[in-house]
């Protein structure tokens, strides 16, 4: 378990302020945030490299706030791997095992290099290896001494997307096999969705929001979080109540107006608000007929289509308002979605999240 309570760290002009977070034993936590938000500093504080001005850190129910890094049993993988350039691949992996018996050491190196496909590289120098190879070595090196906690700093940032997918799968499998409590820093929300049990969004040294990935993803609590996690469309507008209710605390049907758009929503309060709409919740169709319209149906023109391997991001212009939709690439093909094409957009009222 990783428990942070009011962790405050000052590094030069930058500070982490009152960071509190719990990653349960065996869990996988993710910290996401833009560059410069303090993600790496937070990991380094947990590893014991940066002293705390205030707050407490407990790892596995043991207070390590003032403990030396070498006593914390933490595995650390940096974004740029930081392999020891004067050692071979095998020596890098075995670095943390020097205090163990030679047999146990060799066995552990062999196990990990088999799991991570590093056996052919063991006697090689670490210079000139690919990013994916270096990443696996750094991971094996961190896991070798069987740490209680694994800290990963942007582990996939410097590898190509194909390698990233493979590494992500391997990491999840390793995490399940070794049952090690993990905290990963990323700026990629896809990592968070695929890997995380707990997600914390870090902004300027503070945690803007934390919770399960689904909760943070669906219900961002601020425009910063919504825009940062790239949920697609964030609209600024006003909420107007459509029906009167006695209970002011209850949710009510309302109308959200932003530019020329007027959408039916379920709201908790009136007035100025941001509406967050996930790309997958924008339903696109080419129907030009006048069949019974569902709620929140309006026309839009396609501005741009970004085709991924499975999902295409479709950028739309609805009477001056920019929207982003996601459809399966095959669907985009079938519908003939291309710049300049007119489509009908439908959004369920409950899919519009107001903050």
């Amino acid at each position: 378990m990783i428990r942070l309570e009011g962790v405050t760290v000052q590094v030069g002009n930058f500070s982490l302020e009152e960071v509190s977070l719990v990653v349960p034993a065996g869990g996988y936590g993710l910290i996401i945030g833009p560059t410069g938000s303090g993600k790496t500093t937070l990991l380094e504080a947990i590893a014991g490299h940066e002293p705390l001005r205030r707050g407490r850190i407990a790892l596995r129910d043991e207070d390590v706030t003032t403990a030396a890094p070498e006593t914390r049993r933490v595995g650390f993988v940096y974004q740029h791997y930081h392999l020891f350039p004067h050692l071979t691949v095998g020596e890098n992996i075995g670095y943390g095992l020097r205090r163990e018996a030679p047999d146990a050491r060799a066995g552990r190196i062999r196990d990990l290099s088999e799991t991570l496909g590093l056996v052919p590289l063991l006697s090689r120098s670490v210079r000139g290896l690919s990013g994916g190879e270096q990443q696996r070595i750094a991971l094996a090196r961190a896991l070798a001494p069987r740490p209680n906690i694994l800290l990963l700093d942007e582990p996939f940032a410097a590898v190509d997307p194909a390698t990233r997918r493979v590494l992500r799968r391997e990491l999840r499998a390793l995490h399940e096999r070794e049952g090690i409590t993990t905290l990963q820093v990323t700026h990629d929300f896809e990592d968070a969705m695929r890997l995380g049990d707990v997600v914390a969004v870090l902004a300027e040294g503070r945690i803007a929001q934390s919770g399960t990935p689904d909760a943070v993803f669906r219900y961002p609590n601020s425009a910063f979080v919504a825009e940062f996690i790239g949920t697609g469309t964030v609209l600024r507008g006003t909420v107007e109540r459509m029906q009167d209710r006695e209970d002011p605390a209850a949710r009510f049907a309302a109308r959200f107006r932003s530019g020329s758009l007027s959408l039916e929503v379920v709201a908790e309060r009136e007035g100025e608000a941001y509406a967050v709409i996930r790309p997958a919740d924008l339903l696109l169709s080419r129907t030009e007929g006048h069949e019974p319209a569902p709620r929140n149906r309006f026309p839009a023109v396609i501005v741009r289509v970004e085709r991924g391997s499975a999902v295409a991001q479709v950028h739309l212009d609805a009477g001056g308002t920019a929207l982003v939709a996601a459809v399966m690439s095959s669907t985009a093909e079938e519908l003939g979605l291309a710049p300049g094409v007119s489509v009908a957009v439908a959004i369920k009222a409950t899919a519009i999240h107001l903050i």
């Binding site: 590893a47 014991g48 070498e70 020891f84 670095y95 943390g96």
Partner: protein, 262 residues
């Protein structure tokens, strides 16, 4: 830059060639002046041989002291942002701009019999002036900055995160230093030490004031030149030059190849 015969390019090459000639010319002239026979004579001259041994031993002692005291300072300067770091870095660089006889006078005042420190050292049996420790002191004063700046640059070239990784893998601070930082910075530190050794061997200005006798090689050469003239000084000068050239070659081999480091 491609070779072109414009007046500008010709000027560049001409000026550059003049300087190379000015440096290489006298050294080559000196080397050719000494015949193998005269070198043999020089090496059978007991006073010269003793002086060269004294020079090698004192330069080695000064270099070891420079490394022992200079490497920790270099590490602190490279890694720890302590208050007054720039001032300390400046103080250590000062000997580079102090004329060497001035350094000799300053050391004489600081370490001589009249000073409390000199008296303290004398009661410990470590008399400095006109003794071998005086030679080492002069050498240390001028060569320590070389070790400190070389080692500091070498430590700066090693990413501190490597040490942090080693710490999380169970190393204490000193283990991480010995197993990671020092091996990676080692070439730079050794190159600095070799240069410091060469600087010590060539030191004259401060030693001539602190300890004229026993004579190190540079003083012996000066002594022979003033007493017996040029021919008497040449064999000793050649021997010293050969030692310097050997050290120079060693530095070329040890100099860290910047391109290899990220």
């Amino acid at each position: 830059m491609p070779l072109r015969t414009s007046p500008w390019a010709l000027t560049l090459w001409l000026l550059a060639a003049l300087l190379v000639l000015f440096v290489a010319g006298p050294l080559l002239r000196l080397l050719f002046q000494a015949s193998p026979a005269s070198l043999g004579t020089a090496l059978s001259d007991p006073e010269l041989v003793a002086s060269i041994w004294l020079t090698i031993l004192t330069a080695t002692a000064a270099t070891l002291l420079s490394v022992l005291l200079g490497v920790p300072l270099a590490y602190l300067l490279a890694r720890v942002p302590f208050p007054g770091r720039r001032i300390v870095a400046g103080i250590v660089e000062l000997p580079v701009v102090v004329p060497h006889p001035v350094a000799g006078i300053a050391l004489l005042l600081f370490l001589g019999r009249q000073s409390p420190i000199g008296q303290g050292l004398a009661t410990l049996g470590l008399e400095v002036v006109n003794r071998i420790p005086g030679i080492v002191a002069g050498m240390l004063f001028v060569s320590a900055p070389i070790v400190v700046s070389a080692a500091r640059e070498a430590f700066r070239g090693v990413d501190p995160k490597l040490e942090r990784v080693a710490r999380t893998l169970g190393d204490t601070g000193s283990q991480a230093f010995r197993h990671v930082t020092l091996p990676l910075a080692g070439r730079g530190v050794v190159a600095g030490a070799v240069l410091a050794w060469a600087r010590s061997v060539s030191e004259f200005g401060s030693i001539v004031i602190l300890t004229y006798n026993p004579k190190v090689a540079s003083i012996l050469i000066y002594d022979r030149f003033t007493l017996f003239g040029l021919p008497a000084a040449v064999p000793a000068a050649v021997v010293l030059l050969l030692i310097a050239l050997a050290v120079f070659a060693l530095v070329q081999v040890l100099a860290p190849d910047r391109a290899e480091h990220r």
